[in-house]
């Protein structure tokens, strides 16, 4: 379907995109500067700070810590989010809408509030997980799971329950019917949700600020701490790697899942 977009709208859309994408360009160019300080426009282009990043114990360990944390978060969020989405889609009870809103609330609440609340809770409850990777993991799961609920919920909205009933009637147990019929038909939503969860966790800042331990910081916190004391371009170089990772995972998602189709389903 070819639809002609009015020129003023097109111009507005392009301006909007430029406005959103310009900061990314700033980071990338600032990371490629030859100068001593983080400036824009950069003073000449070089890989000096990129190499500095790759030699920096602090940034590399933060990068891989974030990567590990995001993978761990992705696994748990995908399982929890899929289960929650299934429950919300299949059960009929009063307060279902309220429960759904509750599940999605971590995304709506300010990250600072969620981070602080968890920090205070971990301390007050004496669980001994404040400022450990486990506490941080819980915070990230809380933050990433709603994205999985959203995408899986969207694919379940168009999944015809009579497919599952047909499978049951043909002799499949509930587990087999889910594995052979429901799962393949919502797999795209699950894949998209898990990659969203990964990206969200990788870029998470506010919750991490409260919950990360000083010796094992995720990349965004490491960049923030570094920029607080010195204005060196290796933070921007670290940004380049973070952006590259996110773009790579988005491209991967696009290969695996047709995001547009998924979003269209949600509308319909």
């Amino acid at each position: 379907m070819e639809r002609k977009i009015p020129l003023p709208m097109l111009v507005l859309a392009i301006l909007g995109f430029c406005y959103l994408l310009f900061p990314i360009l700033v980071v990338v160019l600032a990371g490629l500067t030859t100068g001593e300080f983080l400036t824009f426009p950069p003073k000449g282009l070089s890989l000096r700070w990129v190499i500095s990043f790759l030699n920096s114990e602090k940034y590399l360990s933060a990068f891989f810590f974030s990567f590990k944390l995001a993978l761990m978060t992705m696994v748990v969020s995908t399982i929890l989010g899929t289960a929650a989405a299934l429950f919300l889609a299949r059960s009929r009870f009063v307060g279902r809408a309220a429960l759904r809103a509750f599940f999605l609330s971590p995304v709506v609440l300010p990250g600072v509030v969620v981070g602080f609340a968890l920090y205070a809770f971990f301390i007050a409850s004496g669980m001994g997980i404040s400022r450990t990777i486990w506490g941080l993991w819980i915070g990230h799961i809380l933050y990433s799971t709603p994205y999985v609920i959203g995408t899986v919920g969207a694919s379940l909205a168009t999944f015809d329950v009579s497919l599952e009933e047909a499978a049951r009637s043909l002799g499949a147990s509930p587990m087999r019917a889910f594995r052979k019929i429901t799962f393949p038909n919502i797999a795209q939503g699950i894949q998209a949700g898990s990659i969203f969860a990964f990206i969200v966790s990788f870029g998470q800042f506010e919750v991490s600020l409260f919950l990360s331990a000083p010796n094992s910081e995720p990349l965004p916190i490491a960049m923030y701490n570094s920029l607080r004391y010195k204005f060196e371009p290796d933070a921007a170089a670290a940004g380049i790697f973070a952006i590259t990772l996110v773009i790579a995972s988005v491209l991967l998602t696009n290969r695996l899942v047709n995001i547009r189709r998924l979003l269209e389903r949600q509308d319909g």
Binding site: S162, L163, A166, R168, S169, L170, A172, S173, P174
Partner: protein
């Protein structure tokens, strides 16, 4: 005990009653239809038999076995859904093989059975196709093959024709009936379309508001409806208002205006002298004659509308303040009438059914 028995089955959803005190006996090999308007409880009844809905009260027996508490996969029932529910991520072959794979049959036997099922429904050569590559009628055939291949005790059909266009519907009606007859499988068919039910069924249960109103053969349901609701729901009907002037067993005399006509009582209905009743006469049961001075007809009327439909001609006849629809075969030996013609209206005594 009958092959399928519903005993005092009811289903409540919160405060609403979907099915109330249902008793049904269905015999082996029978083609049994549940017919009624939407929301009458027919689909819920079917889903209770399939095991998707748990009855609030009562028991269901199939082939002597109490299945009330069994999950769907333990029931040995094949169901064809309104939208066919073809698994979209599987080929036609894998769809039909699904039930056999679940039954852990050896591969060679599965292949053999699926091929036979494909041949039976006329879909040989389509085994590699996906759902999106099939037409409505083809999906229908695949859905039927998928359940027949597991040789279930009962076949359930939930409005299987409603997603098809009219021409296809007519074709599939006879096709399904023929398959059912050749396989000899006990079949329960849910529909809101009276013509489907009349054409295909051995017996029909007419339902409304969660209750069965009448059970009978298509002839009984059409010619001896138990109530005005059934008379109006099944086929086209004229309901003439009149007053009972005499009752003699099952035969009643009914006064309509100045004329007195006869009708008969059906089922367990009874009427008394001077009671207001309706007389059901089907449009095709009525004969019309041009008014002749010598004749003393019981009922006369005026042609107020003529509708030419090719094979039949329909007339609207005004009798005092009531309307009567009449359908006359288009044959050279039958008179053609024009607007405002005065006519004599006749029907055989058995063709008039008295409705209290």
């Amino acid at each position: 005990m009958s092959y399928v028995e519903f005993s005092t089955i009811s289903k409540h959803f919160g405060n609403s009653v979907a099915v109330a005190d249902l008793d049904l006996q269905i015999e082996q090999g029978e083609f049994f239809s549940l017919l009624g308007p939407s929301g009458c409880g027919k689909s819920t009844t079917l889903r209770m038999l399939a095991g998707f809905v748990k009855p609030t009260t009562g028991t269901i027996h199939v082939n002597g076995r109490d299945v009330t508490a069994l999950p769907p996969e333990a029931r040995d029932i094949g169901i064809v859904f309104q939208n066919y529910a073809i698994f979209p991520h599987m080929t036609v072959f894998d769809n039909i093989a699904f039930g056999l794979v679940e039954r852990k049959l050896p591969r060679g036997e599965i292949k053999q059975k699926v091929d036979a099922a494909l041949a039976e429904v006329g879909m040989t050569g389509f085994e590699g196709r996906y759902e999106r590559e099939l037409s409505g009628g083809q999906k229908q055939r695949v859905a039927l093959a998928r359940v027949l291949v597991i040789e279930p005790e009962i076949l359930l059909l939930d409005e299987p024709l409603s997603a098809l266009d009219k021409k296809m519907r007519e074709e599939m009606k006879f096709w399904i009936k023929n398959i059912q007859r050749s396989v000899g499988i006990t079949t329960i068919y849910v529909t809101h379309d009276q013509s489907e039910a009349l054409t295909m069924s051995d017996r029909i249960a007419v339902m409304d508001q969660g209750r069965v109103l009448q059970i009978g053969t298509p002839v009984e349901i059409y010619e001896q409806p138990a109530s005005r609701f059934i008379a109006e729901f099944i086929g086209e009907s004229n309901l003439l208002n009149g007053i009972v002037s005499a009752v003699d067993g099952a035969v009643c005399s009914i006064r309509i205006g100045n004329a007195t006509v006869t009708g008969r009582l059906t089922q367990n209905n009874s009427v008394s002298q001077d009671q207001d009743v309706a007389l059901l006469v089907r449009p095709e049961m009525i004969r019309l004659h041009a008014l002749d001075a010598d004749e003393q007809p019981k009922l006369t009327g005026t042609v107020s509308e003529t509708i030419y439909q090719g094979s039949v001609v329909r007339y609207r006849i005004q009798i005092a303040d009531q309307d009567l629809m009449v359908e006359i075969a288009n044959r050279p030996d039958l008179p053609r009438l024009d607007m405002t013609d005065e006519v004599a209206v006749f029907w055989d005594a058995e063709s008039g059914v008295v409705m209290p």
